[in-house]
Amino acid sequence: MSFLELDGVSVAFGGHTVVAGLSFSLEAGRIGCLLGPSGCGKTTALRAIAGFERLAAGEVRLGGDRLGGPGVHLPPEQRRIGMVFQEHALFPHLTVAENVAFGLRGQEPPRRARRVSELLATIGLERQGGRYPHELSGGQQQRVALARALAPGPRLVLLDEPFASLDADLRERLSLEVRELLAAAGATAVLVTHDQHEAFAMADQVGVMREGRLVQWGRPYDLYHRPGSPFVADFVGQGVFVPGRVVGDGQVEIELGRLRAQAPAPCPRSGCEGGCRVSVLLRPDDVVHDEGAPLRARVVAKAFRGAEFLYTLETAGGSRLLSLVPSHHDHAVGESIGIRLDVDHVVAFHQPPGETAAGPDSRP
């Protein structure tokens, strides 16, 4: 049995359902993430796990205890769940050490002091214990908030867009740091974010949410390479859809050639064997720059990414593609360059993108 289990959780505000039928489970010591555009209900889902929102339906279980469900609602005070808030919510009138010690009330002073200095050392702020939160940088405040949440040894740690208020550079570095801190504490955690890089950097399991529903729950690798719907394909990672046609078992034909799936998954639709129209996902890393290739495409736009360029290309047939090219291949806009397809995972959906309820037609 999993450590954290959500079973058909729904939350409604005044008759308006914000989270609908959310189910997932997480093993102890793992980090889960709810990823979705703003307003998709992910923060509400997190607050429901913490106990701030009552469930309209469904059940939340932690380590086998029912925290919320029909006839049960344990208040947040009694759930032993730590939470890191978006704006950190540190107590401004308390020093860093006092903030961290806050959740340790009722413990004997020597033990408290030991635990606080231990945590401050872990987050690398042992010398800043006497400072006040406003004297720290955003990243430091973030780490203090995490230490404060970890101090009482919670059974679960929740992080609500923990890096949203930090700049991009810091975000990347801190998400790895926080992951290490959580792993060191052996904590089980659930994170909420709209930033897929953050989700991929931190989480073992990621769930993509849309309009209150969980669209797909899985490993980051699977979300990227085996998206279950056009929405997930579009939201997670970059890419374009090009029209294609099923030409045989595990094969689709697109303008640029024929793609063959190594190990096709069964198509959920029947009667799709031949000639069926699909849209095929091409990731920027599926389109490789190759000077000697017979296929040519014109550069429409380019964005410098440091180590590589992200080129927007237009084929002779008018399809637009994205391609990641090492940055020493510096081509001008309007130039025609040779490309080759290098598709490991063929992802095709029966309907054109933008419509719902599609399943992968073939995948590795």
Binding site: M83, A89, F91, P152
Partner: protein, 376 residues
């Protein structure tokens, strides 16, 4: 350059007119077309009719049609009847495409809500607030009882600081205000009392009204403005900043940790302030008595002591405890109910002060009536 369209205004009868359009109406000449239309239609008034006659139109494009349809809608909103008439089949299709034959919805002026409607809504809003306040009182009582069972779980550390801020720091203003109230009352009364030679009874009036009524009420009003509003702002900010949620995840309920210490502080401090207020009020009266009514200080004080019973003072203190509860509970409840950022904090603070003042006056009237009916 002459435009390729023609417009004429023709009066077809009393209050009836036509704009006769012809030629080619296109977006390229929309500017002059619009000016011309404006000039010709401007005299049409409510109750009249002004149609667009299109029989001579050879060509009309979407841009020009949109202009005409817009003008017709505007005329109709002004109360001028207006239609497109006599259009050829091709032109009529364009008319239809741009809704030129559609009914124009009357521009609804926002009707103010009726008196009963407003009254009903306001009553419901008040009842909802009362319901929330009662629910809060219930929670408060429950955690108060829980606190009696395990007194160590409360946040006693904040109590002395809150008492100092709400009590000691309020002494100057409380003393000054009550002194001035005593003074003003005595002035008002002295003019009347002197006429009957009842100068000395000013001491009775001031002593009793200050101890039973004015002392507790004025002090409570000062505390509502100083401490009640501060509680709302503090807790409101903590709420908006998610600090309250952070407290809860660390196992500390806001009731025990924030509300109870504040309430207790006010309940302990307000009666003490009221005692000071009583003394200040009597001193205010004394000044007027000596200066304006030829009384000796000793005579004034003796009369005060004779007139004011222990119960007079005690009933004021009982009131002050009720007032303290009202100030703290409403202040904290409004603070915890805050939503919507800094603006929300401001709104809730205003609401807290207004609600508290109203509650104070109501509670004062009720308690006074209760004490009088009980013969006390």
């Amino acid at each position: 350059m002459t435009p390729s369209f023609t417009i004429q205004r023709i009066e077809t009868g009393a209050d009836r007119g036509e704009l006769r359009l012809g030629g080619s109406l296109t977006l390229a000449e929309a500017g002059p077309l619009w000016e011309e239309l404006r000039r010709l239609e401007s005299s049409a008034a409510r109750g009249q009719s002004l149609d667009f006659e299109l029989s001579a139109v050879e060509r009309i494009d979407g841009g020009a049609m949109a202009l005409l349809a817009c003008l017709r809608a505007e005329l109709q909103r002004r109360g001028v009847r207006s239609e497109f008439v006599a259009a050829g089949e091709r032109v009529q299709r364009v008319v239809h495409l741009y809704g030129g034959d559609a009914r124009v919805a009357r521009l609804r002026s926002r009707r103010p809500l009726g008196t009963f409607d407003q009254l009903g809504r306001a009553t419901l809003a008040v009842l909802r607030e009362v319901q929330l306040a009662l629910a809060f009182l219930g929670q408060m009582t429950a955690s108060g009882v829980a606190l009696l069972r395990s007194p160590r779980s409360a946040n006693w550390r904040e109590l002395p600081a809150t008492m100092e801020r709400s009590g000691a720091d309020a002494v100057p203003i409380v003393v000054l205000i009550n002194f001035l109230v005593g003074l003003a009352m005595a002035f008002q009364a002295s003019a009347q009392f002197r006429r009957y030679g009842a100068n000395i009874y000013v001491a009775d009036l001031i002593g009793i009204s200050v101890s039973r009524e004015l002392g507790p009420l004025m002090t409570a009003i000062v505390l509502c403005g100083r401490s009640g509003a501060a509680f709302t702002a503090e807790l409101g900010f903590m709420r908006v900043n998610e600090e309250i949620d952070a407290l809860r995840t660390m196992g500390l309920g806001p009731m025990r940790y924030l509300v109870l210490p504040r309430t207790l502080a006010l309940v302990l401090v307000l009666p003490l302030l009221v005692l000071l207020a009583d003394v200040a009020g009597v001193l205010g009266g004394l000044v007027v008595g000596v200066w304006n009514l030829d009384l000796t200080p000793r005579g004034y004080l003796n009369e005060t002591i004779r007139a004011v019973s222990v119960w007079d003072v005690a009933s004021g203190l009982v009131k002050s405890v009720v007032f303290a509860l009202a100030i703290a509970l409403i202040g904290c409840q409004q603070g915890l109910a805050t939503t919507g950022g800094a603006e929300g904090v401001g709104r809730r603070t205003t609401a807290a002060v207004v609600t508290t003042l109203f509650t104070l006056i109501l509670a004062d009237a009720a308690l006074t009536a209760l004490f009088r009916l009980g013969g006390m």
